[in-house]
């Protein structure tokens, strides 16, 4: 290992550093280099991920490491992506130790603009190490104050001293369950050991390094030799390594452990309808009269009353009959209140336009549905030939002002007989019985696509719809 390091030093001891004279960044890169050497990490197993600011100049100083210079504040998020990818690369047989360790260099400005990324990386406990270079201001852009500027500290934008209390990054990330949190001074002799410990830590680790910007920090503030210690004491900052609340497995470990459990959970417990499953019905054996062109149906009711799932089941029945169908749903942005509607097209040919210029059949199951059809203009676009199925609890046809001519309005006690949740399916079943649009047997085929626990209830609604249809003639 020593041989490898000797061949590929992380930071050449005599490398000219691009920082201002006296800048803490120079101390940090030397500490980082010593930490990497101490750990003996192969240079190609480290991705030095740098943020925007003077802190981002470090890339070129480590010629043998992978380096990624990113956008402002986002360095932690890119590093998190790199670490997450390990979960997918793992099956290729790479042992965990041979993986990539992203080490993020970020300033106090970047830490705040990218705070969410730090919080989420800590929550996930991804194997990422973050070194926050906190020099209390934005150095590269002229010494403006940041969210980590101490109280009373003068900057270009707080000439009279900062009056907003600084964010205690460690306290915040502790609340995000970070496993390794530490704070130290750039001038501290033991910083390399602390950084090495952070890099070695399996999971998210962050070290906040306090330093002074020799160009702007010292310009407007009267600072003594012990300025950093005084500032830290005034903010009540914890110095050193914080005790972690408890040991947590890394994201990768959790992912690998969960893999099998997750798989079986999805296989056994998923009650969702199988997407793309074709109903088992041999439609080629059946011939039936389906009108040429397209048939357009609107089903409108209330949210939570299975309007859209009834329409989906009907589409599956049509699919079983060999028809092309489209189903376009609409509901307010809230999922559980107000209207819910589905627009269905049926055709022997592939369907182009999926909207409703003028519907052939309109089914209204509740006042919510009625109101929406009036509001969205569907009722105004109906023709006198449009066939209506209305729940009998709705106002009578003349009061509704329907354009329908005699014999085109069917009123059925759908909600009362089939329950509100079965009303849409019952309406579709009633229409299917009266108009004989689809061949017999297609409902059974469609029902096979439902999870077992939903099948019986749906079959009951279909049956009720059929019974209502045979007992009722269309009336005006």
């Amino acid at each position: 290992m020593d041989g490898l390091v000797a061949q590929a030093p992380y930071l050449a001891p005599d490398a000219p550093l691009p920082y201002c004279r006296g800048c803490g960044h120079a101390l940090v890169v030397r500490h980082l280099s010593r930490a990497l050497e101490r750990l003996g990490l192969p240079p190609r197993s480290v991705a030095l991920t740098t943020d925007i600011g003077c802190v981002g100049l470090a890339d070129s100083l480590f010629p043998h490491l992978h380096t990624v210079h990113t956008t402002h504040g986002r360095s932690t998020a890119f590093a998190t992506g790199m670490a997450l990818a390990e979960a997918v690369l793992e099956p290729k047989g790479l042992p965990a130790q041979a993986g990539l360790k992203p080490v993020v260099l970020i300033g106090d400005g970047g830490a705040m603009i990218g705070l969410l990324h730090l919080v989420h990386a800590a929550q996930l406990n991804v194997d990422v190490t973050v070194l926050v270079h906190n020099n209390f201001l934005f150095g590269m852009t002229g010494g403006q104050h940041s969210a980590l500027t101490p109280l009373d500290f003068a900057t270009a934008t707080t000439p009279a001293g900062n009056s907003t209390p600084p964010l205690d990054l460690l306290a915040l990330l502790r609340a995000a369950h970070a496993g390794f949190l530490a704070r130290d001074y750039a001038t501290s002799a033991g910083l390399d050991t602390l950084i090495a410990e952070a890099i070695q830590f399996p999971g998210f680790a962050l070290v906040e390094i306090l330093e002074l910007c020799p160009t702007y920090g010292t310009r407007w503030n009267q600072l003594t030799g012990a300025a950093l210690q005084e500032i830290a004491a005034r903010q009540g900052y914890w110095i050193g390594k914080m005790e972690a609340e408890q040991e947590r497995p890394t994201f990768l470990k959790v992912w690998r452990q969960d893999k099998e459990t997750r798989k079986s959970k999805i296989e056994n417990g998923n009650s969702k309808i199988e997407e793309g499953q074709t109903p088992g019905f041999d439609f080629r054996a059946s011939s039936f009269d389906f009108p040429s062109g397209e048939l357009r149906v609107v089903v409108a009711g209330s949210a939570g009353e299975r309007v859209q799932s009834a329409a989906a089941l009907f589409c599956r029945a049509a699919l079983a009959a060999g028809l092309y169908t489209t189903q376009k749903n609409d509901n307010p942005v809230t999922q559980g209140t107000g209207f819910s509607l589905s627009e269905i097209c049926l055709s022997r040919e592939p369907i182009e336009f999926t909207g409703m210029e003028s519907p052939d059949v309109v089914m209204v199951l509740s006042q919510d549905g009625w109101n929406e059809l009036r509001a969205n203009g569907t009722l105004a676009r109906c023709r006198t030939e449009t066939l209506f199925y209305l729940d009998s609890e709705l106002p009578a046809a003349p009061q509704c002002g329907l354009p329908a001519k005699a014999g085109q309005v069917v009123r059925l006690p759908l909600r009362r007989e089939a329950t509100p949740k079965g009303a849409a399916l019952a309406a579709l079943a009633a229409w299917q019985v009266q108009a004989a649009i689809l061949p017999p047997g297609v409902w059974d085929a469609a029902l096979t696509t439902l999870p077992a626990q939903r099948r019986e209830e749906a079959a009951r609604s279909i049956k009720i719809g059929g019974r209502l249809a045979t007992g009722t003639a269309p009336c005006a």
């Binding site: 210079h69 986002r74 992506g81 997918v88 993986g99 589409c315 028809l323 376009k328 336009f353 909207g355």
Partner: protein, 365 residues
């Protein structure tokens, strides 16, 4: 079908954040990707979603995220980073009514300009726009193919009406392209992460964490990824970013023409409005009118050859799209000089076949 296409294309990493009408893609990927040996993850916002994808892509994975207009706005910073660092990534942008949060459950084609013209400097981001569920599948495969082939972000631009409408699909009729793997660096000694001989070449890729030293940067850089100011090579690299797209424009071009050699009128559309347009075409032709139709699937780079063929002998052009000012019509304008160009535009609901037919009839009569 976007998710299906992504899985078939070999997508192994997905990071998402809920937003109507793109949440279905997110949910399907969360459910299906682990079974395909991949990782799907909930990000805390759209900025993180795309950053995670780019980070994972740098490690060699094919990655995708899905969002809608409001989320896309947050991603633009990172899209530019992916473009500048030549990192492959696919973004499925399912449009909804804007501006701002607009109408979450209403369709629109209002993000064409916002998607394409989102880079400082005006670099071309390839955009594919499906009009049907089958096309969602096919064009997602194309999006991955070109993202990997060109080391570029690629957008799959769909909308609520295409993305959330359920329809019957003839499986087996899809034209699925073969998905390439990105071309990898072979010689560590001579490798330059942004190296090219000719400006239209695509640099070989080296995986972050592999044996070949990788330098990634979003700042103006030379072929080796070194920050340089006022160096001619930096400008060469910037020009190359556009040249590599231009050089593959015709290979990327996808359009579905339905041309009448006698037609002097051409209807152009894309995405969901192409469906209404095809139906309008039937209405107009049934009336005995000579009219051609061109559905453009590769919105950018603009498929010039297909456009040229469709424009032969044509003096009037209609561009139908569900936005206020004709965003794609404006993008096509340089290619339509000498033609009389009409917009068919609407916001808030689907443009109907009747509306398109009436607009064209009105002029022809």
């Amino acid at each position: 079908m976007v998710a299906e296409g992504a899985l078939a294309a070999g997508c192994r990493f997905f990071a998402g954040y809920p937003i109507t009408p793109a949440s279905e893609i997110y949910e399907v990927m969360m459910r299906e990707l682990p079974a395909h040996g991949g990782l799907a993850l909930s990000a805390p916002d759209e900025i993180s979603s795309l950053c995670y994808c780019v980070g994972a892509s740098l490690r060699g994975l094919k990655t995708m995220t899905a969002t809608s207009g409001p989320g896309w706005c947050l991603m633009i910073e990172t899209v530019q980073y992916a473009l500048m660092t030549e990192t492959p990534v696919v973004i499925a942008l399912v449009q909804r009514l804007g501006p701002s949060t607009g109408g979450a459950t209403q369709g629109a084609q209002g993000d064409v300009g916002l998607a394409e013209f989102s880079t400082s400097g005006g670099y071309t981001i390839p955009i594919f726009a499906p009009s049907t569920a089958s096309e969602c599948y096919e064009l997602t495969l194309h999006a991955f193919h070109w993202a990997e082939r060109l080391r570029s972000p690629v957008i799959l631009l769909t909308d609520k009406e295409v993305g959330m409408t359920t329809e019957v699909v003839d499986s087996g009729t899809s034209e699925a392209p073969e998905c390439v793997e990105r071309s990898m660096a072979t010689d560590a000694a001579t490798y330059a992460p942004y190296g090219f001989d000719h400006p239209g070449d695509v640099p070989a890729f080296a995986v972050l964490g592999g044996d070949v030293k990788v330098t990634v940067t979003g700042s103006a850089h030379d072929r080796h990824g070194r920050l340089r100011k006022n160096a001619p090579e930096v400008i060469e690299v910037l020009l190359h970013l556009q040249h590599k797209i231009d050089a593959h424009a015709e290979a990327m071009a996808r359009a579905r023409p339905d041309l009448d050699p006698n037609a002097r009128c051409l209807l152009i559309s894309y995405g969901v409005t192409a469906r209404a347009s095809r139906q309008a075409l039937r209405i107009l032709r049934a009336q005995g009118r000579a009219i051609s139709f061109l559905q453009i699937q590769t919105l950018f780079p603009v498929p010039r050859q297909a456009l040229e063929w469709a424009l032969a002998g044509v003096d009037n052009v209609w561009v139908a799209e569900e936005n206020l000012t004709g965003q794609y019509r404006a993008a096509l304008a340089p290619f339509l000089s000498g033609k009389r160009v009409h917009g068919i535009n609407k916001v808030g609901s689907l443009i109907t076949p009747g509306e398109i037919a009436r607009a064209v009839e009105g002029w022809m009569d």
